[in-house]
Symmetry: C2
DNA sequence: CGTAAAATTGAGCTGTCTCAATCAATGTGG
DNA sequence: CCACATTGATTGAGACAGCTCAATTTTACG
């Protein structure tokens, strides 16, 4: 039962997570952290935590004794500047580690905001590290996740430093399509897309006004359609060409 | 023994590295990887490799069986785009890990170019990982290095996404001053600065022409002085204020 | 149903780029 | 040791991508 998804403080939270099937908490499940089970999986104590849309889930500089994984909903990790601007450093989909750094550091470098209603599982760090030391499989799985995360940030820097507004937005959309597709959530080039234009703006280093015009352009060129928190890539070829630049 | 530094073009290479004292290969030395010694240090087989200024040291997609550390000279890791532009993802000073990802991945994600003449030590990856598994101290040291690296990239993305040209250049200079200072190479706000304006441009996502004007501005406002591959911060306050935005 | 958040559109401005040319520095071969 | 070739720094003029300010409409939510 979804139950009254409550605050911030640990609540029933993400029951759906397991119910929705294996696709969901793939990292957690892939790591064998999900729950004590026969298949060689290792139990690690965990807490669940959920937050409503648009709320801050974790605050910069918060001291974490756990390593959270997003189970349900979309979130973003975001760095705020003194002048009010902010940069989204990663968009977190269900199954994503909040940040690989949390394995080594307990202080959170950036805030995490919920885009939709979000639910996380927070794995105890020291237990998790013990598992890492003893389970090579888990180690490999986790270092792969870390590598992917790292490559994504490098790619972000390249996009921000070298590409045009249209390319950045196109690439963002294509990335999210690919990540959704890995999870089996893309059908006929359409997928759930809860980001607001301001999220896209903060992720691409643009103004939301300009993002609006760029997307308007995409739409009028028959590249994408957006409606009702869902995005459909009408012309994948065209979008890809635009993105490659 | 140090032996004839071989490889690539096996040259004499970085004998200076040790001779210059502890400041230099600090990571390697801090890790106790330097050479077999009584102090609990762990020997790991290593090769040395050197390259002249402006040459490519490692090429994107190269398969590495080792984890290199820069011992001497400055290098940059850089991603090239099809349109000829390129983004510098990190500036490597002596003592820096080429990339923490190499602990987990053997394929190099981006090329590494020498800025000055450069010399590296390449530690055997599997031996290094064995050491990590058995030496908590080394593990901590290395995960710290990884964390620092990660934070630097995040910071780069924020700079590229949200800050003005002047801020980006100012921050680059201040970062390099700080990193040089950690190594004890800053005297009276002056330090070795072998970067060309094109390097600065590629690192900040700007045109070298515009970098030139920005630096010209800094100079004429009495913020910095550059001459003879050395940079002096004349007005640290002013530069910092500019950088903060 | 009312209020806040998000999307859209217009007009003008500016930071940064492009193109082009010159000059200084550094390195190379004869 | 000089002439030449290459690389790097500097400066000017004009163009444009993306920003700011401002107003309106649409959508979402308590």
């Amino acid at each position: 039962m979804t139950g009254p998804t409550s605050q911030f403080s640990e609540k029933t939270g993400c029951n759906n997570c397991i119910m929705r099937g294996l696709g969901l908490c793939e990292v957690a499940i892939g790591l064998g952290l999900d729950h004590p089970d026969p298949g060689g999986a290792v139990p690690i104590s965990q807490k669940k935590l959920s937050a409503p849309a648009r709320r801050t889930v974790f605050r910069k500089d918060e001291l974490m004794d756990s390593v959270p994984i997003v189970c349900e909903g979309w979130a973003v990790s975001v760095a705020g500047l003194s002048n009010g601007r902010q940069q989204i450093l990663s968009i977190l989909l269900p199954g994503d580690l909040l940040s690989g750094s949390l394995l080594f550091e307990q202080r959170l470098s950036w805030s995490v905001n919920a885009v939709t209603e979000v639910c996380c599982r927070c794995f105890n760090r020291s237990e998790l590290r013990d598992v890492l030391a003893t389970s090579p499989k888990t180690f490999d799985r986790l270092s792969l996740a870390y590598t992917v995360e790292r490559n994504r940030i490098d790619q972000l820097a390249i996009d921000l430093g070298q590409r045009t507004a249209e390319q950045r937005v196109a690439r963002l959309i294509l990335n999210l399509r690919d990540r959704s597709a890995e999870r089996g959530w893309v059908h006929d080039q359409a997928f759930d897309f809860p980001l607001r234009q301001t999220h896209i703006a903060d992720a691409t280093g643009l103004t939301s006004i300009h993002v609006n015009r760029v997307i308007g352009g995409f739409r009028s060129h028959g590249l994408v359609e957006i409606s009702d928190r869902s995005l459909k890539i009408v012309n994948p070829e065209g979008l890809r060409n635009l993105a490659e630049g």
